[in-house]
């Protein structure tokens, strides 16, 4: 029952063999697969985090570009407005100038017409008067002298007016 002898070394030998066998067939595969899974999950988590970060960056970049686009469009509209304003002012000015010129020209033409008319009326009137006078005085009147006299008269009357 209580026998202690050299066969104690059997168990040493056996346990070492068992240790080696279990290491090959149990601990290594199980620990290996657990480690592999841990690595895989860790990798996936890291990947997800990276993608999240990337997405965040992309988003902020898009937002920024959107903002700048808005600003740009605003600026473009403003510029267009300004340009339109300038053009508008320019056109109005030109129109005003043109209108003024036209009015001036019309005035000038009217003046000239009036003068012309006046002059022809004067001439006609002189002739009518001369004809009337020569009718009254007969043909004795010197045509040249009478005309001069009449012109003088008319000029006096005209200046009186």
């Amino acid at each position: 029952m209580l026998t202690l002898n050299m066969s104690a070394f059997w168990i040493v030998f056996n346990i070492i063999i068992l240790f080696i066998l279990l290491r090959i067939f149990l601990f290594k595969p199980v620990m290996g697969i657990i480690e592999k899974r841990q690595k895989l999950i860790q990798g996936q988590l890291d990947d997800a985090e990276n993608k999240n970060k990337e997405a965040g960056e992309l988003k902020s970049r898009y937002e920024e570009s959107l903002k700048s686009a808005k600003e740009e469009s605003f600026q473009i509209v403003n510029e267009a407005k300004e340009r339109a304003q300038v053009q508008y002012a320019h056109i109005i000015e030109k129109a005003n100038d043109d209108a003024a010129q036209i009015v001036q020209q019309a005035n000038k033409a009217a003046e000239a017409d009036r003068e012309q008319m006046m002059r022809s009326a004067q001439a006609e009137l002189a002739e009518v008067a001369l004809a009337a006078a020569s009718k009254v005085l007969g043909n004795s009147v010197d045509a040249e002298a009478n005309r001069n006299m009449l012109d003088q008269f008319l000029a006096e009357k005209g200046s009186d007016k």
Partner: protein, 230 residues
């Protein structure tokens, strides 16, 4: 045959056969043959359970992973990062003792009821404990550690080199032998229902408890020999 004679025969130290080696014959005790059986069983079960391991585990693989991880963590909690290299050995011993101690359940004499088996295991434990100390501190640090915490304690610490394996060896041996004797007596006296209840305690609870205690104490001693002095 009286009960005493029957019991004595059951408890006798048996040599199963001899391995001839020239003039010399190596005796192979019964406990060694049983140990080979336990080893074969453990290896075959391991191979069955770890066949075709996948990242996404099936039920079989999940079960073995769960078991190994739980057992691993028991020792990891004691030994920590520094001592985790000794865990596979402790698990080997734990599995071997767990199966061996329970063999009484199947009417096979447990190899741990042979003093040679437990003595061999205790010898390995004390060598491993000292090796762990040397590996962690170097030979000088290991020698110096005998004078820890004060130089006066050196004789006690040296005595521990004998006391620790002796207590490990005798505790396991005594428990399993005692359980075996009681179970044999119960079988002789009341062969019907009583062995079932008694077997549940002696062959399952006590058997697993002793396997755990042996490995737990070994890991505790290893931890003590590798921890920092403060």
């Amino acid at each position: 045959m009286s009960i005493g004679e029957e019991l004595t025969e059951k408890l006798a130290y048996k040599i199963s056969f001899y391995i001839p080696l020239g003039d010399f014959k190596i005796p192979v005790p019964h406990s060694v043959v049983v140990t080979w059986g336990v080893m074969a069983f453990l290896v075959i079960v391991s191979i069955i359970f770890t066949r075709k391991m996948k990242i996404v585990p099936g039920k079989r693989q999940a079960f073995i992973e769960f078991c190994i991880e739980k057992l691993y963590n028991i020792f990891y909690d004691i030994l920590g990062e520094r001592g985790k290299r000794y865990i596979p050995y402790l698990l080997t011993v734990l599995l071997y003792l767990g199966i061996s101690n329970m063999l009484g359940l199947f009417g096979i004499a447990p190899p741990t009821k042979d003093l040679n088996t437990t003595a061999g295991l205790a010898l390995m434990s004390i060598i491993l404990i000292q090796y762990a100390g040397i590996h962690q501190r170097g030979v000088g640090g290991w020698l110096k550690h005998f004078g820890h915490p004060i130089a006066m304690m050196a004789p006690m610490n040296i005595l521990e080199l004998i006391i620790r394996p002796l207590s490990l060896c005798m505790r396991l041996f005594g428990n399993i032998l005692g359980a075996y004797i009681i179970m044999e007596l119960v079988h002789i006296v009341a062969p019907a229902v009583v062995p079932l209840a008694a077997g549940a305690y002696f062959d399952i609870f006590d058997a697993l408890l002793q396997a755990y205690v042996f490995c737990f104490l070994t890991s505790l001693f290893i931890q003590e020999s590798i921890m920092d002095d403060d």
